[in-house]
Subunit: 423 residues, 4 copies
Amino acid sequence: MAKTNRGCMYMGPHDVQVKDIPYPKLSLDSTSSPVASERQKRDCQHGVILKVVTTNICGSDQHMVRGRTSLPGGHMILGHEITGEVVEAGRDVEYVKVGDLCSVPFNIACGRCAACKRGDTGICLNTNPARAGAAYGYVDMGGWIGGQAEYVMVPYADFNLLKFPDKKKAMEKIRDLTLLSDIFPTGYHGAVSAGVQPGSTVYVAGAGPVGLACACSCQLLGASVVIVGDSNKERLAQAEAFGCKTINVRDSDDIQKQIAAIIGGAGEVDSAIDCVGFEAHGCGHDHSEQPAAVLNDCMKATRAGGKVGIPGLYVTEDPGAKEKAAKTGNLSVRLGLGWAKSLSFYTGQTPVMKYHNYLMMAILNDKIKIADAVNVKVIGLDEAPAAYKAFDQGAAVKYVIDPHNMTGLVGKAQESPLKKARK
Amino acid sequence: MAKTNRGCMYMGPHDVQVKDIPYPKLSLDSTSSPVASERQKRDCQHGVILKVVTTNICGSDQHMVRGRTSLPGGHMILGHEITGEVVEAGRDVEYVKVGDLCSVPFNIACGRCAACKRGDTGICLNTNPARAGAAYGYVDMGGWIGGQAEYVMVPYADFNLLKFPDKKKAMEKIRDLTLLSDIFPTGYHGAVSAGVQPGSTVYVAGAGPVGLACACSCQLLGASVVIVGDSNKERLAQAEAFGCKTINVRDSDDIQKQIAAIIGGAGEVDSAIDCVGFEAHGCGHDHSEQPAAVLNDCMKATRAGGKVGIPGLYVTEDPGAKEKAAKTGNLSVRLGLGWAKSLSFYTGQTPVMKYHNYLMMAILNDKIKIADAVNVKVIGLDEAPAAYKAFDQGAAVKYVIDPHNMTGLVGKAQESPLKKARK
Amino acid sequence: MAKTNRGCMYMGPHDVQVKDIPYPKLSLDSTSSPVASERQKRDCQHGVILKVVTTNICGSDQHMVRGRTSLPGGHMILGHEITGEVVEAGRDVEYVKVGDLCSVPFNIACGRCAACKRGDTGICLNTNPARAGAAYGYVDMGGWIGGQAEYVMVPYADFNLLKFPDKKKAMEKIRDLTLLSDIFPTGYHGAVSAGVQPGSTVYVAGAGPVGLACACSCQLLGASVVIVGDSNKERLAQAEAFGCKTINVRDSDDIQKQIAAIIGGAGEVDSAIDCVGFEAHGCGHDHSEQPAAVLNDCMKATRAGGKVGIPGLYVTEDPGAKEKAAKTGNLSVRLGLGWAKSLSFYTGQTPVMKYHNYLMMAILNDKIKIADAVNVKVIGLDEAPAAYKAFDQGAAVKYVIDPHNMTGLVGKAQESPLKKARK
Amino acid sequence: MAKTNRGCMYMGPHDVQVKDIPYPKLSLDSTSSPVASERQKRDCQHGVILKVVTTNICGSDQHMVRGRTSLPGGHMILGHEITGEVVEAGRDVEYVKVGDLCSVPFNIACGRCAACKRGDTGICLNTNPARAGAAYGYVDMGGWIGGQAEYVMVPYADFNLLKFPDKKKAMEKIRDLTLLSDIFPTGYHGAVSAGVQPGSTVYVAGAGPVGLACACSCQLLGASVVIVGDSNKERLAQAEAFGCKTINVRDSDDIQKQIAAIIGGAGEVDSAIDCVGFEAHGCGHDHSEQPAAVLNDCMKATRAGGKVGIPGLYVTEDPGAKEKAAKTGNLSVRLGLGWAKSLSFYTGQTPVMKYHNYLMMAILNDKIKIADAVNVKVIGLDEAPAAYKAFDQGAAVKYVIDPHNMTGLVGKAQESPLKKARK
């Protein structure tokens, strides 16, 4: 019987549809991937085919869906946050076995280049001919097919996959474990690169899923005070629900005064993390789009000698930008302020593999309730287009697609765990 | 009116007595310190006199009190874990003010030598003419008078003291904050140097106050599983009370098997911390004194590529040792085992100043309940001799002396907070 | 007999004059410093008075002398690069002695605040009431009197001073050792923060004294290829003279192509260091002032996952800037490019004390010829005004003022050591 | 035509012979490796077959050849220091190509386990079923066939091999590049783990090839003074020839006094590296075998707060040891001395891959003359048995076997480059 597959395709701005698509092959070329070029062609006997258990909608998917990138409609299957079960393994796969339940880092890494050998899997030199770094289902990231689908192919599987040690126990915590493919490590990486440690005071800019995952990671790292800033009240409430302090950035254009109201002193924290990126808006009265607004606020918010982690995405080209300079990726940064404070800055895609096994251990041993923090909601594949829309409108929810209803949660009432807790 | 003072003096093996002693002076010489030599003499206008609020009995005091060192009786005021209020400041003190409530690191550091400038305040090159590193009230550590007394002098006060930002709030958490002078940073340093991070599995050897402080620090650092080993059942129960797993080292001589029973696999953890030191005993059947037994167990317990923190004290000379080689500090270490596993090892006095302000923030913001973890009991000065005896007999208690009953807790029933919690 | 003093005073744009000034006092207030405010007032019994042996003219002095800052004329004695002999020590000075020959870090640090305890002496919290970080003879840096004079006061002397172990040997290498107060550590810090290590390929932007010191530091750190970029041919020749490769940034606006011509591949190095700062100019055809031009080039030049050190000064306000945004310190940075490459960025004043003793050892043991690399020329105090002018016009010389001719070199022919070597 | 092969076989204590052996296969099992067990069996389509260009005799080979291990005679082809040209590539090899000239790290690493992903290729969890870490031609290291042969198989080739960018240029520097497979990175790792940096003072214990490579690495790292200790005068002369200071450990049993005679002060260095390991002998009068003698000396030699790198091999079992405890790997270590000085210790096999590409760059750009430092002598395969004997007798030579005379140096007079330089 022919194997079938269905997945979420980007059809054009604000238009995502579930389509019949080919069942994955252990190769990458124009017959297996509609967006793969000749240069990307390769045999993938080092890969496996996964039955997707869960696959999450990410804020960075929205950049494409809002039409802020050069991606044409009708070609790309979306989705780079994937957890699945191995149903077929290539000839050269040695350690991963059929039946293994695994988390897939959103970075596609070869495990053989200089960057991968250093642990910099976010900038693998081999998996994307156009530039360093590849991902599933993302424009300009190597032509690999996305995972918001029933089945997906994962190359270099022995290197990329994180196997969960106990399948049954993993399924019990799948709402948390599904976040290991991207936003938990991404938020955590932002916190780690900003130097968060036990006792730190921290400012997290942005209360979307990455911001909330970052704030929760700061708590895991022992931060004494975690302050989250956003203008979306529902998302701020979500942050408060797990013990964060919050700032509504619309209320003032003086971030230091807002921080001082919480921790006193000069209103400066040890570490700041920009979880917003280039689609930033001004604070206070002027909330027009200002691509460097959040980064500049992070500099203001950080004490001398502090560090600023920047997991929020900044792009080399932004055709949809309001400012002319921003179209070519030039932002108006208050560098002199950062210099006077001896700050350092850390950018780039998170190398998920540096963190995912330790963070899995934290989940499996109940050290963190990351799914509750970001308010996971499990949905079916056909609900994905509506979820894209709701998320775009600011829902304080992390949507997790379960294409086969392996969790048993699809279609069931899933009251926000935090609301439940507050009752 | 003449100012008076009283303090705990070491009179000989197993004999500590409260004696009238001179009120502190801002100097160190043979008139101000009975154990200070001509070489140690210095003017201390950089110092302050503290009214002692709390001062703790430490396991390392016991090495002296058990007669395991060369300290003669009748000279030394004990005590290096001190918290107090400034009542007099020397002429050259610029930033600390009379009335400030401060934690005193047990390391006495000048803040001016190459070691202090690197942050290595545990090996200050100026405060002890005999060797690197000084402390209050300790044999061979520079002749400085101990703080288990009503008043004590703290030199280089601008450098050494940690001022609590809010005096009233600090007094409310004084049971926790008193641990900042030594065992909390010491346990924490052991954990940090062993590489403990979110998700780590950890083995802590020893459930005395430092071991418990270390275990609790590992939790603050986000460890997924913290296993504590000891042979004292009461202390192990204390460790379990705040969420640790435990191993009774008398039950087996195969530490890997005991660990595997908890976390599975080969029974190896990411990090191990030796919180026992040279007064170690064998495990399993043979629990005679074996100075390297705990260190060798830590090597067995640690996975390849792991780190071993060694905050437990090892001495250069141990006249009371059973083994001949151990008398001169030579221990029988299974170095080949460590080498085959590519382990690294971190020794020495903890440089408290590297950590105390961040750890204070963690206490003040309720990120850690360190006093409960180590089972603090506040006593009066006159109860100290009895406390030394009880502690030597293995009481799972951290004794905190409050010479002026400024906490109001002296003489009051203080049920173990953990027992209370379990009711 | 009254003690006299003379020093270099900033009188207005492009106008430096040698003036009679008061002999230093062990205090800082409006009677001892014409630019010190009431808030800055303090007794300095922790200080010493130095007879200045050498004091260097720095590129950052030029920012003031060119009138690019808010400094009014007629008040400030310039000079923050100082080496001298102790002629008087305050009451609270314990370890530095009269007669000691010492290097003075340009950072003025108290040694007692949280920043100093971390080793971040460039952002001391106590020595400048206006903001973190103080320096001698510099606008907005705490009101401390500069050292381009016969005598100068150095506060917190036990903490700040680096004593040379052997005075006679030190005088033999004084041309090198004089660079320990600023540009050698500053160039080195740029290299270290950019991750330079044995085998690295490096791009150093700027061939002024800091750029040359940085390039030479990269060699000391074992870099395999050091490429220096500038538009001043004499300075580029200086860089070539000690083994660097060079790029004339006027020749092209494609820095990657220029680098590829030297090392091949994509024209990207492991590490880049911006030794120019905010007074940057465009490359290729358009060499107008473009404050972010050098930083953007550094991003282009660096490989994915690389680091960019930024010792070059960026200011919070630049009233003399051409661009309107730049007047308030807003620069047009290609942040998206850096993000796509996962770069990190390190800014701020160099904490000299982290490095100066190790770098002194490198000089004393002939591991580096730093004076030759930056082309030191020793001059008398009265030659300083002319030297300021020559340096402003791009002389490839590092001017070192010897106010008492203690080196015996003043007025003597000092052929460029590199020219000599090439003969 | 059948492909043939010849290699160096361990026949018994002090007996190495060149034997006809099978041509390599792309597999590991009992038919391809006489010492591989069923558990080690695997298909190696990820591997390549190399024509060996150079393969070096290592000090650790001598442990086997002296009969200090459990290795039986007549089975093992020796050799883990290999450089070669790819002549056949397995099906799963994607990036390495036939014709590539490559350095082979002596560690055999899968590139897919948790240790390899962390960069800890010295303790790969997959390539040796018996314990963490594998190597070519070594007892208990996974059963892989050694490379002192004409041809050898290298598994996981895309991960393990370092390709030289320019074959012709590489052949010109092959005497240096051949050292990248082990002793250069091993000596360098010892230095790096001991914290050697520009300006450091260093003590290197042992002037065999690893000790000399370490000393030369310390210079590359910018150390100000490098002191090498040994009792072999020829080897000490070799160390002096490239600028090291030396100590003959037979001359005194007070290492601090010997160091003080060179650098003054207390005779303590910043960093010490033990390049001897368990076959150590006492210093001064008593030069009997004392397995911990060198390590204890390293502790004495290191200043408080310093680090001790231990690349020298310590074994878990040493049946040939003189001391009873040492037979089971228990050594008499002066741990108390290290603890009093707050030392840290770094052990284990060097993960070559962390360093080899940067060190290759240092060689190719003439930053280091490592072959001259260790006195490389190129010999033919048939000369290997004699070279083993000469090396065992203390020749200050690093023997490099060139089985096909691809260097053209076999049989030619090769005056010691250092002797030549001194003429």
